[in-house]
Symmetry: C2
Subunit: 387 residues, 2 copies
């Protein structure tokens, strides 16, 4: 087992009608009577969630910032930063999925940053967020685990870039997970959420054999649960118990626990982010495109762990189990209605391998994956095999 | 899934040689240059651990309090309370197992309490700890999970009482888990630690069938890991990877995660505590005595979950699986060298059923277990069947 530090101070309020605790929670982090509520498109307005939340917050003056898009945009978020500065906001309530929550993590760090916050995202020397405005979340779409971790991914479509940020300052103070909200989420996003949670787990599990028995069983617990609930939750997102399992799985897939003491991969994500930056393909769908081909490309190195995954998660043994496990994984994504070939999303796919390769070289991302053996040339080959 | 709130702000520093981070961590919680180090018997002195820890703390004046016993005693702990008051301590480093850590939770609460702290433990009207001195821990014996939760059990042998306390104030600020320390733990305590972690998991799992699929798989993950590592870790506690799994299992068994959204039992603990209070039997051993008989006594209500436990954890199916799972559980405890009959520990066992029953009645503990169906009369029958 590798040494690790594990820390997650976010309070999770899980279940039906936890909104009544909002005022109690927020008052722990601000003495002011004014907060910002941030959200994405109009779905939380149409579903009545925004009104419901506001009706619980009579003690506060509410400033609103809507319009945070999927793959939250730097330019959009900088408008929220300006609003926070103007209104002297010291608490933000993010209502939405991973994009809104990720976006608010960036906003929370940028508000008190002197200089151009993009410099922090590109890791320019000496540029870091040194403080963050306190924030809490109400999660609508279960997928990214952002409601219980301190990481975020921010897009800049002008530069066709997607960049990560994070650190201990960026844990939400609290997150409300209400599984009844799943029925307000578009079916496409429910499918994405399942795939995203599944892939987050694989990135921290499908590496090499380890002696981290508990971590391996725990990762398999998430995978088996997602496989078990997926057909039902796709069919009827208003089934409370199934929805609750999805919220809980997505949370556990990336609340930090699965990474404790284990080698992690994340190369599917690193390549996938480029496909979103290039083509605007949903994040989860980029993972479903890359993952099977990446596992094929790294088959010899991952074979032993694939065999364990085959046995424990898919109940497959035998000489071809590792290959079959990759097929099962791809079929699982397809069963969610997710296409696993790049050409299903764009006709402009031919340029992708070279662009991804060039970008990795430019950023000195010379070695990815749990063994640090995936080179920019490998990334080229992997993307090429995804057509 | 039941509604729940989940919160655990303890930072875990896991692995070899994490002591070098002690000063960094402690300085976040005190501006003073004086701290209390609290420990139990002499084993941390003999093993050299105390000297090693002190050598990392050159920035601080060290006040020591040793002699916190297994099942930490109210009278002993009150001496530590007095010492903290006299020395104006605002940070305590607990070095030891669950007893030392539990004891320091009580001390942390009692230092600034006006009145007799025992009143808090017996839940006398209006008596609560309203603040706590900050504390961190270095865990020697993995067992209770106390290093990552906010609960404690305090004994009062004058009254033959064992009482619980806890709450959000009582999370350690950090806990260092160093699996190399397992080889300094007496073999009897290693066995106890395995049994304790196993039983903590069962209390939160072996109840009724639920639709909490992820929680069930996660509980099974801990149980399967403990079964897998137990023979090796008993044989060679210096095997780092096996020891690391034990530390991680004991931590996960009671860091709060397994109870999220599920019904819990805890009746084996409630009865077991009385056997410790009466006879001084090791906590873990009281659980091994009570558990098999309690599951037999509540067999019809637990049968369905026992069948799942049989299948998923012990790979047993068939008409007799539930009974066999109880036998397997008892055999597992015995394989650790733990006797599972009360008469193996005391010849004075005949009085136990009546005393336990009377105490439960006296405290209005009229209904225990996940269904609230275990009455004081049931407790009498269960203890009677343990002879």
């Amino acid at each position: 087992m590798l040494n690790f530090e594990s820390f997650n101070p976010t309070k999770v309020l899980f279940g039906k009608e936890q909104y009544s605790k909002l005022t109690r929670e927020i008052k722990q982090f601000t003495a002011k009577n004014k907060i910002l509520i941030a959200y994405g498109g109009g779905s939380i307005i149409r579903s009545g969630l925004l009104d419901k939340v506001k009706s619980e917050l009579n003690d506060f003056e509410i400033v609103e910032f809507g319009g945070i898009e999927a793959n939250p945009e730097y330019d959009t978020l900088m408008k929220a930063v300006e609003l926070c500065r103007k209104e002297q906001i010291d608490f933000i309530l993010a209502v939405g999925g991973g994009s809104v929550i990720d976006g608010i993590k960036f906003v929370a760090g940028a508000v008190n940053y002197n200089g151009e916050p993009w410099d922090v995202l590109i890791r320019k020397d000496g540029c870091v967020f040194r403080s963050a405005v306190a924030f809490g979340t109400i999660l609508t779409l279960p997928a990214t685990g952002s409601e219980s971790n301190s990481g975020a991914v921010i897009s800049n479509s002008r530069l066709q870039e997607k960049r990560t940020m994070g650190g201990p300052l960026f844990f939400p103070k609290f997150s409300i997970l209400d599984p009844t909200l799943l029925s307000t989420v578009p079916p496409r996003q429910v499918a994405n959420g399942i795939a995203d949670a599944y892939m987050h787990t694989l990135e921290q599990y499908l590496t090499v054999p380890t002696t981290n028995y508990l971590q391996e069983y725990e990762a398999e617990a998430v995978l088996k649960t997602l496989i078990k609930i997926a057909p039902g939750v796709i069919k009827d997102p208003s089934d409370y118990d199934l929805a609750a399992n999805l919220y809980y799985c997505a949370n556990h897939a990336l609340n930090g626990n699965l990474k404790n003491g284990v080698p992690t991969d994340w190369s599917t994500h690193m390549i996938g982010h480029e496909l979103t930056a290039l083509y605007g393909i949903d994040h989860a769908r980029t993972l479903a495109i890359i993952c099977p081909r990446l596992y094929e490309h790294t088959f010899d190195r991952k074979k032993e762990k694939l065999e364990r995954y085959a046995k424990e998660v898919w109940n497959i043994t035998g000489g071809n189990a590792a290959r079959e496990a990759i097929e099962k994984t791809e079929s699982f994504f397809q069963s969610l209605g997710i296409e696993t070939r790049l050409s299903a999303y764009t006709q402009d796919y031919e340029k992708a391998p070279q662009i991804v390769k060039d970008r990795f070289i430019e950023r000195n991302w010379n070695y990815l994956g749990e063994n640090q053996l995936i080179t920019p040339e490998d990334a080229y080959e992997i993307v090429r095999s995804c057509f």
